[in-house]
Amino acid sequence: MRPSFDEMQANQDTVREHYRSYQRWLSQQPPDVMRSRREEAEMIFRRVGITFAVYGAKDEDGSGTERLIPFDLIPRVIPAHEWQEMERGLRQRVTALNRFIHDVYHDQEIIKAGIVPADQIFKNAQFRPEMMGVDVPAGVYSHIAGIDIVRAANPDGSGTYYVLEDNLRVPSGVSYMLENRKMMMRLFPDLFSEHRVAPVAHYPDLLLETLRAVAPAAVNDPTVVLLTPGMYNSAYFEHAFLAQQMGVELVEGQDLFVRDNFVYMRTTQGPKRVDVIYRRLDDDFLDPLAFRPDSTLGCAGLLSVYRAGNVTLSNAIGTGVADDKSIYPYVPKMIEFYLGERPILKNVPTYQCREADDLHYVLDHLSELVVKEVHGAGGYGMLVGPASTKDEIADFRKALEANPGGYIAQPTLSLSTCPTFVESGIAPRHIDLRPFVLSGKTVQMVPGGLTRVALKEGSLVVNSSQGGGTKDTWVLEA
């Protein structure tokens, strides 16, 4: 019997302290009321157009498919003391990661100190030699970071938070955090008068403040824009939402052009200079002259303006070197190296298949481990040992043996569950948490983050592209 940890139930008869009043309320709700609330939520999400596009899928009339991300009515509740600890840990971790990226593109002290092997950095496809020696405002590279955290059950029945993954390039999902809260307040206003739930609605304000703080030094009143790949991108709703909430222009590559080493946007009143670009576009697509020449999403000449310090890109180019799964195992050591502190948040113990001993162990224990492609994302390219068939394991073994350096492995964590409203009623489902950490002149975040939930019974995959849903996340105030 694998250990399990439920966020609400300490055991069958005991509800955890911080869930008590919610659970009392929930037990008084007739199931049909909850059902009709859920339908109401779905209708509102559709009317508001809170959808994501599914790549490749088409409706019968040929237009792109827009889907709702399933929203679960039962919140994930985090007690104040747990959040305080987590917040300190996030602050520490993101600060160290930013120091690491700066170091990689400058003096590379961490390599000289023998902590991170040089080839782990230079052979990484996300390493951008174009960034060597480039100074960015405040020395901050990842202004918006999404850190994926899970709670895993220990054999004694307690739970421990682990960082599963750092997302330092273009993390998404924050709009769902905000919309889920709005939805909960609309559906269940009485709940919020009974619980002291820390507010999150000021996130766009903090984001704008962060973006303005990292504008090129010479600019007094910076013009900030949000660069989107366009309305057919899966996260377009979020791009439009954040631009609107911040009151900044939502631009596409075709709206921008470079002249005399500055970036301008085409407006109805002529060209207007742009100082900060919150880009929701991967490095590869930013500038066809520097990266992928076939990209029509970016702006030709952008990199040279950026290197000259005449525009800020947020996040910076080349942050991917630090959120790769092959770098992940080194983060605790980074924290000690740059900050001289003990890491507050734990890493999941990780086997690096590039190491002979680790590989040996992993090959012997495939059926117990989760093996991940170093560059994979979105829950693709991974093997969940305990949930896989013999054939799947055999296939994966071949791939792993052919390219050990491309994989890491971790013990199968028993992710915590949270009561979730599913077809058969209320049942436990596995969840994770993505808090969003903003780094400008200071490090800031709103309490909580996006809780994703694997709606399929027993599933550990929370990604929306693979049947995941979301929940509102409540951090209770002390």
Binding site: G62, Q244, Q254, D255, T267, T268
Partner: protein, 325 residues
């Protein structure tokens, strides 16, 4: 404001207005078809409707014979017809979605809801069951869209480009309606005026329904009575729909709005476009219906449509897709 944003706003408003006017014309034809009339006249009505939108050829190729059913299908729910109500509502919604951050939540939700609801109405057969109610619904969604825009949007550039789109499209649509209704059937109905002097009561009655149908299609029947307190006469109908600045769907009223909003967004390169718009408006302001009729209504409206088209191109060049760098 971004040029691309202005472009989306302009077209969002145009498509919504076009959906409304298509619904208006379909509605009038549908109502008229309920009157006792020859099959020939009914068919002429549906043909006229296709020719207003310059779709006669495309329709013939895809559907063949003209009937109430086929034209309605083609103009309401045909995804392959770029002027169908479906295509217009979808285009309006897609344009809105591209700039949803520029719109107020209410404006966006109105556009989105209209599109979702429309799809539902087509799928459930509501349009076929009661076309009259469905056309009425399209009109009201358009009213709502404009009302929500005026009621919630900051009166900045975004607002002005929306208004320019609405009124330029309306000017175009009203002119087309007039042209087809007067020109295509000119002989027959002006013939009826002569018949009146010969005391042919049947024709006079028929005439009344024809002109009142035109007025109804632009919500102008009661307006006409109020403005003229007289029997319905073709030249007065033309005057009302072309020259009366207080009639909200007249060419004069539309051009007043276009000019006023264009002035608010003027930039360094737009002076020629503003001059053209101002001149077109002045022609309407100082025009007289007897002169227009004397030179020929069809020629006049053809020229008007050309000038509106040129104006649209100018707006596009000066504001929406500027060439630079």
């Amino acid at each position: 404001m971004l040029s691309r944003t202005a472009d989306h706003l302009f077209w969002m408003a145009r498509y919504m207005e076009r959906a409304e006017n298509t619904a208006r014309m379909l509605d009038v034809n549908y109502q008229t078809a309920l009157l006792p009339q020859s099959a020939d006249a009914a068919e002429k009505g549906w043909k006229g409707l296709l020719s207003i939108s310059e779709l006669t050829g495309d329709f013939a190729k895809r559907y063949g014979s003209v009937s109430a059913r086929t034209v309605m299908d083609y103009m309401v729910s045909d995804a392959a017809n770029p002027s169908s109500i479906r295509s217009c509502l979808m285009a309006a919604r897609e344009n809105a979605r591209a700039v949803r951050g520029t719109l107020t939540t209410e404006v966006w939700e109105t556009q989105n809801q209209t599109w979702l609801e429309f799809q539902r109405m087509v799928a459930t057969g509501a349009f076929q069951r009661d076309p009259g109610a469905a056309f009425e619904w399209v009109k009201f969604r358009s009213h709502l869209s404009r009302g929500v825009t005026v009621g919630t949007m900051l009166q900045d550039e975004a607002f002005h480009f929306l208004r320019i789109g609405s009124f330029l499209e309306r000017a175009d649509n009203t002119a087309r309606l007039l042209d087809v209704k007067f020109h295509a059937v000119e002989n027959e109905y002006f013939g009826a005026v002569q018949a009146q002097s010969q005391g042919n009561a049947k024709d006079v009655e028929y005439d009344f329904y024809h002109w009142s149908a035109i007025l109804r299609s632009v919500s102008g029947f009661e307006v006409y009575r109020k403005a003229y307190r007289n029997v319905i006469r073709p030249e007065k109908v033309a005057e009302l729909l072309i020259l009366r600045p207080d009639m909200p769907r007249s060419l004069a009223a539309c051009m007043n709005e276009v000019v006023a909003n264009l002035r608010m967004v003027a930039n360094e390169q737009s002076s020629e476009t503003l001059r053209r718009a101002g001149r077109l408006r002045a022609d309407l302001q100082y025009g007289r219906i007897d002169e227009i009729l004397a030179t020929g209504l069809h020629a006049y409206l053809t020229q008007f449509l050309e000038r509106v088209g040129t104006l649209g191109l100018g707006i596009s060049r000066d504001f929406l897709v500027p060439v630079e760098a």
